[in-house]
């Protein structure tokens, strides 16, 4: 697509129509995971390990099975053996084998005729454990003497001499590091830590599974990706993917946490054992916190050199990240890729290790790895700016990654909007707002690479010229609206004439989930291509009708027109007319596109926050908050703003109060929303937004994903604002009041 086609004079793109699923969602009609029922349905409950690390000696379900109405109990013995690699890990996490690896690890499950009966039966399943030593902290897990959680699981990349809990090592970099640090006027290094957080979607995981003795099954489930659920469930249960049909319900938030399986195969296994009766399984909130996929927790060393004029001469990071008792779940690659992505630095060295600990198997959470990396690097950049008396935005602009500059992780950047975002942040009135006593301002930038992924979209013209679009990416935040806008724009028809349907696994080719900020980018790109294909066919129908060459027909404003005077004089044939006659002109008209779209547009943003800190209690109040981010092109600006605001507030929560708190017994102590403190409405001001548009040449309408970057800058921006307000730099998240107060007191003494 040539750049000049990225025009701004769109009819629909950039407008803010009502979302197609709005009515269902404000009336309570929309059906989420737990809202689905089926005739003959049973209810399931899961028995979970109360220990962080324990050998399972014996499971006795006889008392449970003796209860009238209890239909099936399953343990790991009911699953196929012989799985390897990630399939084995998924199975192991679905149901513990010999050893329970974390507090909350499933060890048995039961299906019964009512929810209460299933819960009663679960309490009657007796599990005998031999408690093993455990470790939950990332640094402790790699220290000498820490219990080895899965000895022998380290991959060959790990340098010799490291603890067996260190299972992966990566490193990359460029330039002459020593020369870079030598050229700096100021070199600082420090260690930063972040605690694990949870996506905190309000809808607990829920599914309804049915599987017969023939291994054919169906599932209704709240998920970001029905094909992922299908593939993973089939692998865990040893059935063929095509025999499992997975239908996504509406989804009550995911943020990455619903891109994988946790308990879904249990419903199928229970159903099979209960003679094929459908089994509903809904997690409690406590189960969600204990046994789904929080983020990694981290410990990160950062060293940066800067000249007096703000030029960054060299940077070095060493990240340690634990993502639970399962390999591959700590986003070390992502974190390193993001660490210096906003900067053009002559010499960089990145290293990271993945570490096992007795915690649940981490899952993706909005820009996985990037917020932690930003906390470390952006905080250190701010520390240097403060020490050298430099403006944080000017310094970032001085070192900013630009079009064509070599990225910190290798490839050159194409068209990117970091500079534009920083400039918009600097120009915003929030950046000049006066600050009072105990108030401070923080700035940070953020990055996410974004993702294309396997994509398959179909589109069909109706008999009245309206259009149905089938997509495979569940709508987590308004993507039906953005996809309908792009489709209608392309076809030249009203927005209301397009209906976007999220379909089940039997209806399309494989789609990756709604993750990686890809739904509007990838499904959108495919929907546009599918629409163009349908336009081609409609032009051919018109050409045949008029007896001219298809090349002589052009499509505009929802109708086929003769392309210029030489093509002949015919009145336009509208999409409605073509649709009405298609049964007699060659049959149904549809468009289809499938690809793994390239041309992904990288995403950059800059945040500015003002806080006030109570010097006597350490409590932080957010006074104003600004999100600036490059959207490429905002298809439905209201939902783009929504992504910015939601991401920023999740980041604020991560910065201030959210954390997994483990006791010395390795049990999670705060598995309810009372104690896992996500931001509430009264904690926040309005979240100001600026949508920067540097169109992505890799998308027909210039879209770059907007979902993830917004969670990245708040962590360091909040830390820098608190430092500005108090003079105390916090290098450990969350910056909860006890820690802030202690830091203020330590500064007073020091």
């Amino acid at each position: 697509m040539a750049k000049d086609e990225l025009k701004t004079g769109y009819r629909l793109i950039g407008t803010r129509p009502d979302r197609p699923d709005g009515l269902d969602k404000v009336t309570g009609r929309a059906r989420y995971g737990a809202d689905i029922t089926a005739p003959g349905m049973l209810h399931a409950a899961v028995v979970r390990s109360p220990h962080a690390h324990a050998r399972i000696i014996k499971i006795d379900a006889s008392k449970a099975l003796a209860l009238p109405g209890v239909k099936a109990v399953i343990t790991r013995a009911d699953f196929p053996t012989g799985l390897t690699g990630e399939d084995w890990n998924l199975q192991e996490n679905t149901m513990a084998g010999d050893v329970a690896l974390y507090d909350g690890h499933a060890v048995a499950a039961v299906a019964a005729t009512t929810k209460l009966l299933a819960q009663d039966a679960a309490l009657l399943i007796e599990v005998e454990y031999e408690i093993l030593p455990h470790v939950t902290d990332v640094d402790a897990a790699m220290a000498p003497g820490a219990p080895a959680i899965r000895p022998g699981s380290a991959d060959p990349s790990v340098p010799e001499g490291m603890h067996p809990n260190v299972i992966r090592y990566i490193d990359f970099g460029h330039g002459d590091l020593a020369a870079g640090f030598a050229a700096a006027d100021l070199v600082r290094e420090a260690t930063y830590k972040t605690e694990a957080t949870h996506q905190g979607y309000i809808e607990p995981h829920a599914c309804l599974g049915q599987m017969g003795a023939d291994g054919r099954g169906e599932m209704w489930v709240c998920t970001q990706g029905q094909w992922y659920i299908r593939r993973m469930s089939a692998a865990v249960l040893g059935i063929e993917a095509a025999n499992l049909r997975v239908t996504p319900s509406e989804i009550g938030g995911g943020f990455g946490g619903k891109t994988t399986i946790f308990m879904e195969p249990l419903s199928l296994a229970l159903s099979k054992k209960a003679g094929g009766r459908p089994v509903k399984l809904v997690m409690s909130r406590s189960e969600v916190f204990r046994a789904t996929g929080p983020t990694a927790s981290t410990s990160m060393d950062v060293k940066i050199g800067m000249k007096k004029d703000g030029t960054i001469t060299a940077g070095q990071v060493y990240f340690r990240m634990q993502g639970g008792a399962f390999p591959g779940m700590s986003p070390i690659s992502e974190a390193l890729q993001c660490a210096f992505a906003c900067y053009d630095v002559p010499a960089l060295k990145h290293e990271a290790v993945e570490v096992l600990a007795n915690r649940p198997k981490a899952a993706a959470y909005r820009a996985p790895g990037s917020p932690m990396a930003a906390f470390a690097v952006e905080s250190m950049v701010d520390e240097l700016c403060r020490e050298l008396g430099l403006d944080p935005i000017a310094t970032r602009l001085k070192n900013a990654a630009r079009n064509g500059s070599k990225s910190s992780f290798g490839p050159s950047y194409n068209q990117i909007g970091l500079v534009e975002s920083l400039e918009a942040a600097r120009a915003h009135p929030n950046y000049a707002a006066p600050l009072g006593p105990n108030q401070g301002r923080g700035v940070a930038s953020g990055f996410w690479m974004n993702h294309g992924g396997e994509t398959s979209v179909s589109l069909a013209i109706g008999e009245d010229g309206t259009v149905g679009v089938m997509v495979g990416t569940p709508d987590v935040g308004g993507s039906r609206a953005s996809l309908a806008l792009m489709t209608a724009e392309t076809l030249g028809i009203p927005y209301e004439n397009v209906r976007v349907n999220i379909v089940e696994t039997g209806a399309l080719g494989v789609n990756e989930p709604t993750h990686g900020s890809r739904a509007t980018f990838a499904s959108g790109k495919a929907a546009v291509e599918a629409a163009r294909q349908a336009i081609g066919e409609m032009c051919r129908r018109a050409a045949a009708e008029w007896g001219i060459d298809a090349d002589a027909v052009e499509w505009k404003d929802g109708a086929a027109h003769p392309a210029g005077p030489n093509a002949g004089k015919f009145p336009p044939l509208t999409i409605a007319e073509i649709g009405a006659s298609m049964g007699s002109t060659g049959g149904p008209i549809s468009g289809h596109h499938e690809s793994v779209p390239g041309g992904v547009g990288a995403s950059f943003g800059a945040h500015v926050v003002d806080v006030e800190v109570d010097p006597e209690t350490g409590r932080t109040t957010v006074l104003r908050y600004l999100v600036v981010q490059d959207a490429g092109r905002a298809i439905h600006p209201a939902y783009v703003e929504g992504q910015y605001q939601g991401g920023a507030v999740q980041g604020i929560g991560w910065a201030l109060n959210e954390e997994y708190v483990y006791g010395t017994d390795g049990r999670l102590q705060n598995s309810i929303f009372l104690d896992y403190r996500v931001p509430v409405a009264s904690d926040l001001p309005m979240i100001d937004t600026v949508i920067v548009e540097v169109p992505n040449p890799g998308h027909p309408y210039g879209v770059r994903g907007v979902g993830e970057t917004g969670i990245t800058p708040p962590l360091p921006a909040m830390a820098s604002a608190i430092a500005a307000a108090t003079g105390a730099r916090l290098r450990s998240l969350p910056m909860s009041p006890p820690k802030v107060l202690a830091a203020i007191r330590a500064k007073g003494r020091g």
């Binding site: 990349s157 946490g257 891109t259 690659s333 992502e334 950047y413 993702h451 992924g453 890809r518 041309g599």
Partner: protein
């Protein structure tokens, strides 16, 4: 010859080389030849890598490539 930049995890499969030169006029040929010259890379290439061609993620294996193009194999990263 096309210079292919590898991410660090692949280096132990290429005897430490971070940049390897490979024959090929399309992305497909380059990846195929890479697996021939460095057989240890084959499983990783098969399981899926992202290719950055001149700063843009390229998924069309038939895309022509010539000497001087910037080619990076990068870890496939998805997101939340």
């Amino acid at each position: 010859m096309v210079e292919v930049n590898l991410w660090s995890g692949l280096r132990r499969l290429t005897d430490g080389a971070q940049v390897v030169s490979v024959e090929g006029t399309t992305l497909r040929e380059v990846l195929r030849n890479l697996a021939v010259t460095h057989p240890a890379l084959e499983p990783t290439l098969k399981s899926g890598v992202s290719v950055s061609l001149n700063g843009v993620i390229e998924t069309n294996l038939s895309t022509p490539i010539s000497a001087g193009d910037e080619v990076y194999l990068i870890h496939r990263v998805k997101g939340g």
